[in-house]
């Protein structure tokens, strides 16, 4: 019996790492992942570098300079307060991405925890899923609007308000994966091997949720960015003291005919960002989990 085969932990980790690297390489071969991911990375770069990119402070008013068309002084024109649309749009990318990514991660995290609880603790399942059904019955935008009315306008409350309606969807997803994977022979084998319940969950069941969650997470991210802009546009979102794309458009909407740049530029950035996340999501789904469907 040869025991000189190397079973050192380091060697194993290296292999595990290379699995991730291989997965990443595999993902990057997908055209949608390339396009969507590339665009998204560009948007994130803009958001991160925003303070270097804007030409004047995005909140600086100059009432004498209001509603100027795009030109050398103001690349994307000025808004009704004479603020620089370009600087505001650049700043807005921070808010949109912050909201999108935070909502996606929070919803995924909370949803996963609740989904596992529902899928594993039988008595909790009924109660939890009724509550989730109830939440899902309330149209997301209405729920968000009502929650913002209670929590008060602010980025934090917008994030919470958009997250809450998304959580049930993640819970359902995770729960269904837990319930179906639990029937897989390899999970049963692990049970037969005496593996404790929490380890079965962590080792054998949870990894199955990563790919669907990643895909679902991108869709939630796109949806959150969209909802944030709609809420701001309706005047029920991030306070207008903070330049978000929705706010810029809301303030520019009545001047649509005489200064379309107030709508055009933020709308373009908004659509491009959502598009990039959606395309990325489609690419991830195609490569990771083709049977997964998107839900609204």
């Amino acid at each position: 019996m040869t025991t000189d085969v190397s079973f050192e932990a380091g060697a194993r980790d290296e292999r595990a790492l290379s699995v991730w690297a291989a997965t990443l390489r595999f993902l990057l071969r997908n055209r949608s992942v390339q396009i969507g991911g590339g665009l998204l990375v560009l948007m994130i770069a803009i958001a991160l570098l925003a303070p270097l990119l804007w030409t004047v402070s995005p909140t600086r008013l100059d009432t004498a300079m209001r509603l100027r068309p795009p030109g050398p002084d103001a690349w994307m024109g000025t808004d009704p307060f004479g603020r620089d649309v370009y600087s505001r749009v650049i700043y807005g990318s921070r808010i949109s991405l912050l909201v999108g990514l935070t909502v996606a991660m929070t919803a995924a995290l909370v949803g996963t925890v609740l989904g596992i609880l529902a899928g594993y603790i039988r008595w909790l399942d009924g109660i939890l899923m009724r509550v989730m059904d109830g939440l899902m019955a309330i149209p997301a935008i209405l729920l968000a609007i009502a929650m913002i009315a209670v929590l008060g306008a602010g980025i934090g409350s917008v994030i919470i308000a958009i997250t809450v309606p998304e959580v049930p969807r993640v819970v359902r997803l995770v729960r269904s994966i837990v319930l179906s994977v639990r029937e897989e022979p390899y999970v049963e084998a692990a049970v037969a091997l005496g593996t404790p319940g929490h380890l079965v969950m962590v080792r054998h069941i949870l990894p199955n949720t990563i790919a669907p969650l990643l895909v679902q997470g991108t869709y939630i991210c796109a949806f959150a960015i969209l909802i944030e802009s709609i809420l701001s546009f309706l005047g029920a979102g991030v306070p207008p003291t903070i330049p978000t794309w929705g706010n810029i458009m809301a303030e520019g909407r009545i001047y649509f005919q005489i200064s379309p740049w107030n709508i055009f530029f933020p709308a373009t950035f908004l659509a491009l960002t959502i598009l990039s996340v959606n395309v990325l999501g489609d690419g991830l789904r195609d490569t990771l989990d083709p049977r997964l469907q998107r839900s609204v």
């Binding site: 079973f7 897989e184 049963e188 091997l193 005496g194 990894p207």
Partner: protein, 556 residues
């Protein structure tokens, strides 16, 4: 076998057919330079293991190759004088169902679930501008009657899910033969069926072929079926024809090693002789074990299924107890109950002297290592995200074995089951089905169990691989003095590995005898039916001759 027919003329002639696989596969062509022919009134069996290209051949003939994935690159398929490879889409459609028809493996999914079966049969006529029961065409009822379906009038208004698998396959046959095609392609039409149903369907195909005098290209992996039905045999492997010839010649005198190997790998119906200690201690015992599903919900009071009832079994150390039964007989329920993957609703399970059927999960845990299970599907039995090494040490480490020690043991076990120990860091997808099943066995052995439950553990494997895994199972049983509870639907396999066999039917054990006695003198009618239905029971495949010692009493 049909020598008394009119001189054969060739209906189908495949010449040098090559079908290319999409790039990136493990070989360039799905089939390569394949030539064969089918005459009128003849059943030609194409035999091969998975990936041999036998289904692709049939799909090429009827023009159903997956679009843009498989493309015929050379050769010709001459059907009634025309090369179907050159026909237009519409012309090809005109042939399908009318001149060439096909039946498939899965009767459960091959019928449209939301359309009544009568309409589905009628659709064959209507797609070719005909009406059932008019213009000399048979009516739906005629057709249903001809495939021996009872109450044709009622049945044609049924939906597929209301029918049994055998009934659905009969509907498929009725549909395929509705317009009296000259060629019938049958792609493993009985593989998904229970053995008794299989026997009836095979009989029906023969009958129908006698009546319509058409040619049949019958695809199968099972030499038992071949012996039962074929006039001629074509053996395929890796997309190429290995050997072809009349059935009798192939079975008696195979020219190629591969053919020999395939034929001899079919387990014998004659129980293997083996010494066993009659007074070995009892390793596993069930006492009136029962499992009932349903009945829990307030709204579903009426819905209740007794999956297993009053099951009394006894497995002694070092022996193999087989549970044989068709699908739905409750054999897997029993297996999962004794391993406590599901909780029995009645009766007791003793592992040695300890009752484990009703204890709470906490108390159960120490008992877990004494009984292990191997599942049917080798592709789903290993966590695809964990290296096989990690899978192997999982059990022992659960019971406090230091990791280093567990690794060492894992290496040993890999060697025992015939896997290169250096492969411990690989992931399941890098292994074949047979290798995975070996790894599963190693994983179970790592626990040093007393009892091993094998739930259809070889059913999904090709016959040659199946033989090797069976050998391995027998080997480790003897080496580790294991007791094996062997769940199978296959009588041949049971005959080879079991010391005693319990036959289950509708949740109950109907007969429970030592293996020799069960095969030689079955007493329960169901057991007799089961034995009589085993395909190729007249043939001794290992000896390449007709069976001498058989269950002759059951013939007829």
């Amino acid at each position: 076998m049909n020598a008394d027919r009119t001189p054969p003329h060739s209906i189908l002639e495949i010449r040098d057919l090559t079908v290319r696989l999409p790039p990136g596969g493990d070989r360039t062509n799905a089939v390569e330079n394949v030539s064969m022919h089918v005459n009128a009134g003849e059943i030609v069996c194409v035999v091969g293991e998975s990936g041999s290209g036998k289904s692709v051949t049939a799909q090429t003939v009827i023009g159903l190759l997956p679009r843009e994935q498989l493309t015929p690159t050379s050769g010709s398929v001459i059907f009634e004088g025309e090369d179907v490879l050159t026909l237009s889409r519409e012309r090809m459609r005109g042939l399908r169902g009318k001149r060439i028809s096909m039946i498939f493996q899965e009767p459960m999914t091959a019928l449209n679930p939301v359309v009544r079966v009568g309409r589905q049969i009628a659709e064959v006529f209507r797609s070719h501008g005909l009406e059932p029961g008019r213009g000399g065409m048979p009516s739906i009822s005629d057709l249903l009657e001809s495939v021996r379906l009872p109450e044709p009038e009622r049945l044609q208004n049924s939906y597929p899910h209301q029918l049994s698998g055998g009934q659905r396959q009969r509907i498929m046959i009725a549909m395929a033969l509705a317009l009296s095609p000259s060629l019938l392609l049958a792609d493993e039409p009985t593989t998904a069926l229970d053995v008794t149903t299989q026997a009836r369907i095979l009989k029906l195909i023969r009958e129908m072929q006698d009546r319509y005098h058409n040619g049949v290209l019958f695809i199968t992996h099972d030499f038992g079926v071949v012996a039962e039905i074929a006039d001629r045999v074509v053996v395929m492997r890796d997309g190429q024809v290995v050997e072809q010839g009349p059935t009798d010649r192939i079975l008696r005198n195979p020219q190629q090693d591969y053919t020999r190997m395939l034929i001899s790998a079919v387990p014998s119906m004659v129980p293997a002789k083996r010494k066993r200690a009659p007074d070995a201690p009892v390793a596993l015992r069930t006492e009136n074990l029962a499992k009932t599903y349903g009945g829990g919900s307030w709204f579903r009071k009426g819905w209740e299924v007794k999956a297993a009832e009053a099951v009394n079994l006894e497995l002694r150390r070092g022996q193999t107890l087989g549970i044989v039964g068709e699908s739905g007989s409750g054999k897997s329920t029993v297996a999962r109950c004794v391993v406590r993957l599901i909780d029995p609703t009645g009766g007791k399970v003793y592992l040695g002297d300890t009752e484990i059927g009703n204890v709470r999960l906490r108390e159960l845990k120490p008992m877990r290592k004494r009984i292990q299970i191997i599942f049917q599907d080798p592709y789903r039995s290993l966590n695809p995200r964990r290296s096989i090494g990690k899978s192997l040490i999982e059990g022992p480490t659960n019971f406090g074995v230091p990791e280093r020690e567990a690794w060492a043991r894992a290496v040993q076990l890999l060697e025992i089951v015939g896997i290169d120990p250096d492969a411990h860091a690989r992931f399941p997808h890098q292994f074949s089905g047979g290798q995975r099943q070996r790894i599963c066995i190693a994983r179970a052995l790592a626990m040093e169990p007393d009892v091993l439950v094998a739930d259809e553990a070889v059913s999904a494997l090709d016959v040659s691989v199946q033989a090797q895994v069976l050998d391995l199972l027998t080997d480790i049983r003897d080496r580790f003095d294991l007791s094996v509870l062997f769940i199978t639907h296959d009588l041949r396999v049971a005959a080879q590995v079991c010391d005693s066999v319990a036959v289950m039917h509708q949740g109950r054990v109907v007969e429970y005898e030592p293996v020799e006695q069960l095969f030689a003198a079955p007493t329960h009618p169901y057991t007799r039916e089961l034995l009589a239905a085993a395909p190729g029971r007249h043939w001794n495949f290992q000896a390449f001759c007709e069976a001498t010692e058989t269950v002759a009493a059951l013939d007829g």
